[in-house]
Symmetry: C2
Subunit: 209 residues, 2 copies
């Protein structure tokens, strides 16, 4: 069975989005700082068509993960700033621009059905329900893994449904105080073969569930 | 002003004790595994009068922290397995034995007043209220820092009252699923000068609040 990897960045107090998150601002107040560690690395800048950035261990970890990724599952908020239904929505193409950084098929979990959207080398397919989205992503991943990218809702649904085989958790050295917690009613997950690494900017905890 | 350091170990899902914690089992179901990283190091074994253990970076960090500690603040559960009132309690001397590992004055936050207890080189003083306990610990710490050691109640009260100057958070690579969360209604703490290190067994995040 094609393996499913959940990769997500969390604050020290366990939030993956700050307070007052909306479809227009899905990371909530202060939530963008979760990703400060990634904006500085070369692998992230490459994927976004940008020059420069640090070629350090954080960047190497992202390159390894990207190379393993055959398809992506994400929630509707992560796809788009728009409210839907899509046909009326000025943000119907999401906010990832004409050159999305995924470079793999993306399956968006949504209750608003629509035709697939092709932008450069990325096809977004819209699927009602997280289990169906993971299943379609597995079929599309080939020899690689399905990358569950968030947000909180989709990550929690995948954890609760036992769909995640592998966890790659980044812990940013910030507190958000409130917002969306990642590990909420997700149980005492049995993390095996834990691998812990860190840089001055972030902690990485990987393992099998 | 004498600085106050909060040092505590948390699970990946943010718990400092597992479910069903009691005075007899204050770490709750699975909670002892939070401290697996510490049982193996030489610094911890030294403090407990035991031989051996690893002399690695984790151990060095603990030695540095111990050397900086002038006094200790802890909650009643952390002090004792007993229910009190103390005079009737078979566990009135706590469960740290005749040679407690603190080697510094300890201030126990409790609503059950009693006379100070001297065990080997440690004097336990019982104080009603966390602010008063920290104040007395500051007076006793000399040039060193006050070490707030837990548990969750005392740690949270100190964070909410703005009594903590410095945080040393250890994150163990386990999930507890439920229990006592450390960062609950503690706000968006302004962590400054964050220093992140890790070993194969644990992550350390230090910084100023």
């Amino acid at each position: 069975m094609t393996q499913v990897l959940l990769e997500i960045t969390m604050s020290l107090d366990g939030y993956v989005a700050g307070p007052d998150a909306t479809l227009e601002d899905p990371l909530g107040v202060g939530g963008m700082a979760l990703h400060d560690w990634v904006f500085r690395i070369a692998a992230w800048r490459d994927a976004h068509g940008l020059e420069g950035g640090e070629e350090d261990a954080d960047s190497e970890l992202m390159r390894t993960t990207t190379a393993r990724t055959g398809s992506v599952v994400m929630g509707r908020k992560m796809f788009s700033g728009g409210e839907g239904p899509w046909e009326d929505d000025p943000n119907a193409n999401g906010w990832w621009g004409d050159e999305p950084p995924f470079h793999a098929p993306v399956f968006v979990v949504t209750h608003h059905p629509r035709e697939p959207l092709v932008l450069s080398d990325t096809t977004f397919t819209f699927v009602d329900g997280v289990e169906a989205a993971v299943q379609q992503a597995q079929a599309a991943a080939g020899e690689r893994v399905v990358h569950v990218s968030g947000g909180a809702d989709v990550a929690q649904q995948c954890l609760r449904a036992g769909l995640v085989d592998e966890l790659l958790l980044h812990i940013a050295p910030i507190f958000l105080g409130s917002g969306r917690r990642l590990f909420e009613d997700t149980g005492a997950l049995p993390l095996a073969d834990a691998r812990i690494t860190s840089s001055p900017f972030v902690t990485h905890v990987a393992g099998r569930l």
